[in-house]
Amino acid sequence: MMLLQSVQEAATQGSATGTAMDWLWLVPMLPLLGFVLNGAISLLSATTLGPADPSAAGHGHRDDGHTAHGHDHEHPEPHKLAWLTSIIGSGVLIASFGVAVAVFMAYRSSGAADTAPIVQTYFTWMLTGDLSINASLMIDQLSLVMVLVVTGVGALIHVFSVGYMREDPGYPRYFAYLNLFVFFMLVLVLGANYPVLFVGWEGVGLCSYLLIGFWFSDKANADAGKKAFIVNRIGDFGFLIAMFLLFANLGSLDFTVLRTAAAGLEPGGVLVTAICLFLFLGCTGKSAQIPLYVWLPDAMAGPTPVSALIHAATMVTAGVYLIARSSFLFSIAPFASLTVVVVGALTAIFAATIGLKQWDIKKVLAYSTISQLGYMFVGVGVGAYAAGVFHLVTHAFFKALLFLGSGSVIYAMHRAYHATHSHEDAQDMRNMGGLRTQMPWTFALMWVATLAIAGVPAFSGFFSKDEILTSVFVRARGSTLADATWFGVPGNVVLYACYALGLAAALLTAIYMTRMMLYTFHGPSRTGEKERPHLAEAPWVMTGPLVVLGVLSAIGGWLNLPAFVPVQPTTSLEHWLEPVVGKSALRVTHGAPQEISHSLEYALVGAAVLIAAIGIWIAFNRLKPETLVPKAQAKPEEGFQRVLEHKYFVDEAYDKVIVRPTFVTSRNLLWRGIDVGLIDGLMVNGSAWTARALGWLGSTLQSGQVGTYAWVLVLGVLAVLGAVTLR
């Protein structure tokens, strides 16, 4: 308690507000506490300390106290302290969410909500020379939105995990990592300066690594985790360079200071464009855009709740948050913003095409995530920062629902296969079918999410996706982006093209999502006669969160209804975020909010709805689940379908062009060639050899023959005499 008080005092030294906002530090610290406790449970219960003299022990006996057996397929042993972990793990998240809500209420009711962010500084992190970086957290509208999403959706997913991971022997370790992840994610969204954000940024990458490779006894899982971390690191490199550029030119890394200092930057200049492009490189890594998206599909090797939390709702949205946070930079860098839009749009359609031909239910959702992230980047790229964040929020709802729902499905399939000792793939849609009878709740809720993601009106996804597409169209008609050029192409052409790509991607989204529902829940069951009776709905601890998310996916649109809708309130989120991103958004649209005629607006909306409807209709008509066969009997794909199924062979290309050559060059040229051969062999050992050779030469003079020595003596005497007399 004393510790709490002292931290409290330290925190509020500069800015004690006397409200719930002073307890902000609890929001990230509670999950951290969960990590420490669950980590302790995991380590202490799994280990027996070794003998005092390990080298004399020979082959030490391992007694049966060791529970580190890993996932034994035949007899999984649940962890002894799982009940404690459940309480701690989900408890801290729910408590953190509670505190976050309290902070939110306090912030809203304080006058500061309209003007200034509230920064709580806890201690000095780095202070040297003219560099000053503090460990500070910031409350403003944007960070609050993110905090609520992270803790709220996070709490639901933690509760789901209680059911999903209950039987796993690594249960405490799982919750420890999950709590640690939430801690880092909260540091990311609450950070008051770039370095603190970066701590969270890399931290979530680390937890992603630990969680993807959770079942590390399988090499493929460990590989996937490592790939995620390294690809993320490439993005982090970009983030670092952006930070260096910022500090070297603007002298600070604090958000509040930079917002005013950035006014001195030349709009569209090389410096601000470079900063934004490097920041975006970081975003492509963290948020899985082209070219650094390749880790996300592999990341599906982790447990499904991990995919829901990290790779759908939170971590991958960090890039979108970063751009929204840096809106004061991106709004004055039209080239960089156009790049963001183009990459986002291309990624949206690229991933959507791949999603059309994936058979693993989680892979479909993974590519769907990449595609939807593309939409978010399109949104923040065109300067509609609120729209991008809105889609981030709604996407968190329905994508988490989709992933958790697929988790329920996989859970049911796993149980069925366990019961019959079968080794079929529990995640392949070709082994599913007709599950709507056995899992009605999951079926209904996943349809809610599918309608949301497809953009069917009144569901949340419709409003957010439509907002983005409309923004692109509107900005194509007139904005700083439309005035700029992108590699020679006029900005408005680029924006119209991206709008078209966005529509196309929306069509494909509707198709592949409906395809997924058709193959999983509709049609005949392909699961096998023996397994079918074992298929059942998941327990309520798992279905409960699905219900909550389903409700949110359905009504989430209320967060930001478009202005032309005759219902109140409209554009709530946009108004809420205005103090943070409003000025930047206006800068893009030439200083005045865009006005378009109602008829044009209805036309655009109508087009989007039509696309969604066509997509669903195509899927229902052309994709017949009755024609599928179970995975074991399925024929391999051919032609372009094969290219799609193999993700355009991008991974293979990266391997061949980047990974293999690095290894070959390092091993043969650098290590064996230069280090061992040239430096060590030639110079070091070579000089040793030369020294010995010279010595050997010298030793030949020592013949041991006294006569020779006498000869040399005489010659020497003559030489000296000659030198003396002839001088």
Partner: protein, 97 residues
């Protein structure tokens, strides 16, 4: 007179030196060393004719040293022979390295 004696002594000396440097048999080498010493004696006597009796005194010194050295040297050769069974200096190369 002096010049001829010195010339004669120089010739003898050089013969001795060449002998020391080129002969293999240790005893022959000793004889050549004796020859060198005696050549020097000759030049001392020649100088004594011109510059006074000190030169002849020197001859006594040299002869004494030559005798002592011959004795010791031959003793060493005998000891060597006992170990190596040869007086061929080319085969005695323990200092080789």
């Amino acid at each position: 007179m002096l010049a001829e004696s010195l010339f004669f002594s120089a010739v003898l000396f050089v013969i001795g030196v060449v002998g020391v440097l080129t002969r293999r048999n240790a005893i022959i080498i000793f004889m050549c060393v004796e020859l060198m010493l005696n050549a020097v004696n000759l030049s001392f006597v020649a100088f004594a004719q011109v510059y006074g009796v000190a030169g002849q005194v020197f001859v006594f010194f040299v002869m004494t040293v030559a005798a002592a050295e011959a004795a010791v040297g031959l003793a060493i050769i005998i000891a060597l022979f006992r170990h190596r069974h040869t007086v061929n200096l080319e085969q005695i190369n323990l200092l080789k390295g």
